[in-house]
């Protein structure tokens, strides 16, 4: 599915990742761990480039359009499936059928009552759930999430991760919460000092194993 063979990446002339060797197969559920700035987002971006047509992306800053409603932001997950004029029509006056389709997802995420409120007026957690909603609405096989549950409580986090797992065949998520990473993924890749320092099955790891990666 994904394959990196000695890839590297740099940002503003500074190397972020070097000599990366990595293979992720269909059906795997992978957690990316590492300190901020370790290159998780960059790695996710490289993976996305490989599977643009199959993957739904949940970027870190969630990249929502704050002035548009939850409905519109979620609907944006399927812009590519319709003609521009159909999309424009839905922008100005959403169609019943599309609202129903979006509601299926927002119901799962518990944000249906905010359906027509501008995203900018929602809490951080609600915004994050909207971003997840957009990815779910894409209906892709692969989900690439950059800390998709960083601003929601533990109960909601579990719910979102469960839904992401349930709706996608392959999942790669950058995560901070070690317990959740072990619980919801079956493989953990640890990044440190611009390279992969850990790549093992979740079942073989404990949270204290992971904590080491965060030490200097």
């Amino acid at each position: 599915m994904f394959q990196l063979d000695g890839a590297s990446a740099s940002y503003n002339g500074h190397a972020v990742l070097t000599d990366l060797k990595l293979k992720i197969s269909r059906g795997e559920r992978v957690a990316l761990v590492g300190r901020s700035g370790a290159g998780k987002s960059t790695l996710l971006g490289m993976l996305y480039e490989q599977q643009k047509d199959n993957a739904a992306l949940i970027p870190q800053d969630s990249s929502l359009v704050k002035t548009l409603s939850v409905f519109h932001n979620v609907y944006m997950g399927r812009l590519h499936c319709h003609g521009s004029f159909y999309n424009l029509r839905n922008l100005v006056s959403p169609r019943r059928a599309e609202i129903d389709r979006v509601r299926e997802i927002t119901d799962k995420l518990g944000i249906s009552e905010k359906m027509f409120e501008p995203v900018g007026q929602l809490s951080g957690g609600q915004q994050q759930r909207t971003a997840v909603g957009r990815a779910l609405f894409c209906g892709r096989d692969v989900a690439l999430g950059d800390e998709p549950v960083s601003s929601v409580d533990e109960h909601q986090s579990r719910e979102i991760l469960r839904i992401l797992n349930e709706s996608h065949e392959t999942v790669v998520l950058a995560m901070h919460d070690m317990a959740l990473a072990l619980e919801f993924t079956d493989r953990v890749i640890g990044l440190k000092d611009r390279r992969i320092v850990l790549d093992e099955a979740s079942s073989d790891l404990t949270t204290s194993d992971l904590a080491r990666i965060y030490k200097a």
Binding site: T67, H80, L91
Partner: protein, 494 residues
């Protein structure tokens, strides 16, 4: 479905503009414009620099008026900005900037004649009003924390020079140099009323249909504006100010009796001027006189000014929405963007007065060419600013493309800013409609120009004051709408 307040406001404005269209005269009246247009096109393609009489001279004077006007306006405006919070200063500034440079020039022409002082004051005075407003807004932005941290008992003056000024100096400087570019446009346009700047020759060449000369003058003008950052060194600005008067060829001697006569006699309402004593009869005759001006000139002038402004404002908005992607990294590659930049620079550097002049030839004398000229010019200005702004928007790797990107990702994000700029330009467009009156579009400016032509300065003054009041009203409405919609941008355009 409920629309958000900005969308509701926009729809309201579009609706109003559509209603105005019913009342507007937007007929195309020319029967055979193509011969003239063909000649114009050919002329534009074959610029003839040798044809322009005294080109270098006109260029120097254009720059000299602009530099002195900005310097004087800047000093005056800065002084006013420091006392902006005092009563009456704000309305005073609103008043002096609500009168167009051309009208100021027409006023000063009566007292000072075609002397350099007329040109410099015509730029300096309205610019002082604009500077005062913007400088005070910039000074407000100074770091409040740093001011609070000063020891108690620090004087207003000390805190001003120690904290406020250093904090915003760069911003003040950037804005002032942006105004210098505007002043060059203003200076060129002053030529249309007889001052010896580029506009003087441009008007002559246009009138005579010498389009190769027009082309040469416009090209020189574009180059002048495009290269401004190379030939103006902020460090030496004050040296330029001292050197600028050397460019003037005409005498600067002023006959003060002309000035006092203008204020003590010419602008006094005619019935009062003629009356032996100020009694009831004289006052009532003045009332009748004023009533006649208001009903026969001011009122129809206000109506057509507002109609034209409303249509031009909405058309500006629509064009902006087309223009801004042209210079945005999100939509075009480097080649496309550069083409877009050239297009927008040319359109926005051409004073709307000149655009309107060209379009009037093409379509004949109605509001239509005026609307197109105003909206092209202003649309290019706002389009440029919004386009630049889109480059700073957050990008996500999985963003859609083309129309979807435009409608779902970019437009919703920049819409607030777009409206802020547009409402900010509202007052500017209104001011500009006034000078299009000089070209024959029956706005208030048309009646002002007629009053000057009839040497009825008292009537002209009444009409100019009417224009100023109208501008101030629109400014207040625009400020309220911006506040209500929470559009907080302070656009650097004016």
């Amino acid at each position: 479905m409920q629309f958000s307040p900005p969308v509701r406001a926009s729809l309201g404005f579009v609706g109003l503009a559509l209603i105005c269209l019913f009342f507007a005269d937007i007929e195309v009246t020319t029967i055979d414009p193509w011969r003239e247009m063909g000649r114009l096109g050919l002329g534009i393609l074959t610029p003839d620099f040798s044809a322009v009489e005294r080109l270098g001279d006109a260029l120097l004077q254009t720059v000299a008026f602009a530099i002195l006007g900005v310097a004087a306006g800047g000093i005056l405006g800065f002084s006013l900005a420091t006392i902006y919070h005092l009563p009456l200063v704000r309305p005073f500034c609103a008043f002096i900037r609500s009168i167009h440079e051309i009208f100021w020039a027409l006023i000063f022409l009566q007292g000072f004649g075609l002397t350099p002082l007329t040109g410099v004051l015509a730029i300096a005075i309205p610019y002082a009003g604009i500077f005062a407003k913007v400088y005070s807004e910039i000074l407000e932005e100074a770091d409040a924390g740093a001011i609070a941290a000063l020891p108690a008992g620090t004087s207003h003056l000390s805190s001003f020079f120690y904290v406020r000024l250093p904090d915003v100096r760069a911003h003040l400087k950037t804005y002032s140099f942006y105004r210098l570019e505007c002043a060059l446009r203003s200076s060129a346009v002053l030529g249309f009323v007889g001052l010896p700047t580029l506009g003087f020759h441009l008007e002559t060449a246009f009138k005579q249909g010498q389009y190769s000369e027009v082309s040469a003058l416009l090209i020189v003008f574009y180059i002048l504006i495009a290269t401004i950052r190379f030939w103006v060194r902020p460090k030496y600005f004050w040296l330029y100010v001292i050197a600028a008067p050397l460019a003037f060829k005409t005498s600067v001697a002023i006959d003060w009796s002309n000035v006092t006569r203008f204020f003590a006699h010419d602008i006094v309402p005619m019935p009062l001027r003629r009356a032996e004593t100020i009694d009831f009869a004289a006052i009532s005759a003045t009332g009748d006189w004023l009533w006649r001006i208001m009903t026969e000139q001011a009122f129809p002038g206000i109506i057509s000014t507002l109609v034209l402004t409303q249509i031009a404002l909405v058309a500006t908005g629509v064009l902006t929405l087309f223009f801004f992607p042209l210079v945005s990294q999100r939509f075009f590659g480097i080649f496309g963007r550069n083409l877009g930049h050239v297009f927008l620079v040319v359109v926005r550097s051409t004073p709307e007065y000149i655009l309107a002049y060209i379009l009037l030839q093409l379509w004949g004398p109605s509001m239509f060419p005026a609307v197109v000229a105003l909206s092209l010019h202003n649309g290019a200005i706002i389009g440029h600013l919004i386009g630049r702004h889109t480059d700073e928007l957050p990008q996500r790797a999985d963003a859609p493309h083309g129309l979807n990107l435009y409608a779902f990702e970019v437009l919703p994000r920049v819409y607030g800013q777009f409206l802020a700029f547009l409402f900010y330009r509202w007052e500017v467009i209104l001011r500009e409609t006034a000078i299009l009156g000089i070209l024959g579009v029956a706005t208030l400016g048309f009646y002002v120009d007629s009053a000057f032509e009839d040497i009825r300065f008292d009537v002209a003054l009444v009409l100019i004051l009417t224009t100023a009041m109208l501008n101030i009203c629109v400014d207040i409405i625009s400020r309220n709408i911006r506040a209500r919609l929470r559009l907080t941008t302070t656009p650097d355009a004016g």
